[in-house]
């Protein structure tokens, strides 16, 4: 089975959930790295007085979590292009101190002809749930398999 066939066979497969903690230090470092040191992300005193009653995490923070491994997943070290990203929240931003159960699903593999050759599109979804199993956020990322990468993968 070549790499493309393997990806096709993974559609619908999920990882085992991994528990992640939204850590204060990790949120602070992330907020500083993205150039957005909002007091609600980094200043505990200010955040306590807010409607959230504590520190919250920036919208794209869930990409820092561990989501577990899909069995038999293959991901090349380089050559994949990040095409699209989506994240949506059910009830509000994540809070520092939250324990989040995260897992990922191999959503789809599709192909499309382009001027430069055949393009592959892998969609991975990632989910975060609270300890009661309630959905907190959903993320979706599209990775593009370029004709060049396809060649190096020997397909």
């Amino acid at each position: 089975m070549n790499v493309i066939e393997r990806w096709r066979s993974l559609v619908g497969e999920r990882s085992q959930p991994v528990v992640n903690l939204v850590e204060r230090g990790a949120v602070r470092k992330f907020a500083e790295a993205i150039g957005d040191p909002n007091p609600l992300y980094v200043d505990e005193e200010a955040a306590k007085k807010s409607r959230y009653a504590g520190l919250i995490a920036p919208p794209t923070f869930p990409r820092t979590f561990e989501y577990g491994r899909i069995e038999d997943m293959y991901w090349p070290d380089s050559g994949m292009i990040h095409g699209e990203h989506r994240v949506s929240y059910e009830h509000g931003p994540l809070k520092v101190g939250d324990e989040i159960h995260c897992y990922t699903e191999f959503k789809s593999y599709d192909e499309k002809e382009s001027r430069g050759g055949l393009l592959g599109f892998i969609v991975l979804e990632r989910f975060g749930e609270g300890s009661g199993g309630e959905r907190l956020f959903t993320m979706s990322d599209t990775a593009i398999v370029t004709p060049t990468l396809r060649k190096t993968l020997g397909t």
Binding site: A26, K29, F30, E32, A33, I34, G35, D36, N38, L40, S50, R51, I56, P58, P59, T60, R63, T64, S78, G79, I81, H82, G83, E84, H85, R86, V87, S88, Y89, G92, P93, T148
Partner: protein, 141 residues
């Protein structure tokens, strides 16, 4: 836009205050790699970028998206980013000066609050490097 104690109330067509970001530096990319756990060397090491056929290191796409959040940062006391979705359409290199902007395209009552949909984009000059939509929910109380 009106901004009172109950938070912002936008109308379709309103523009958010845009931001000109300071030029992308290698240190910024190293910091983001550390903070995000994305250590793909095409974002930090010249040789790795060149081996991948790039003229130099490129910024993490997720860093470009994260900076779109700056548009909404002033309003976080009143609401939150409910959805962010964007497509990458160009690479960002060291020294690039990016501009982020957004405009209201839809406003609706969602029960939980008022949901405003914005078209957002990150540009370098006239080149769009990422574009999409953000749903920002303003709580009712």
């Amino acid at each position: 836009m009106r901004k009172g104690t109950t938070g912002p109330a936008w109308e379709v067509g309103d523009e958010l205050e845009g931001h000109v970001l300071s030029p992308v530096t290698r240190l910024q990319l190293i910091k983001y790699a550390g903070a995000s756990g994305d250590f793909n060397p095409i974002h930090t090491v010249d040789e790795a970028a060149e081996e991948a056929g790039l003229p130099g290191v490129i910024a993490h796409g997720m860093l470009t998206l994260a900076t779109m959040g700056l548009l909404f940062s002033p309003y976080l006391e009143y609401g939150y980013v409910k959805e962010l979705k964007a497509r990458f359409s160009g690479m960002v290199f060291l020294g690039d000066e990016l501009y982020i902007g957004g405009r209201v395209v839809e406003a609706e009552d969602e029960g939980e609050g008022n949901l405003y949909t914005f078209e957002v984009s990150t540009r370098r000059g006239v080149d769009v490097v990422a574009a999409g939509t953000v749903g920002f929910l303003v709580f009712k109380s």
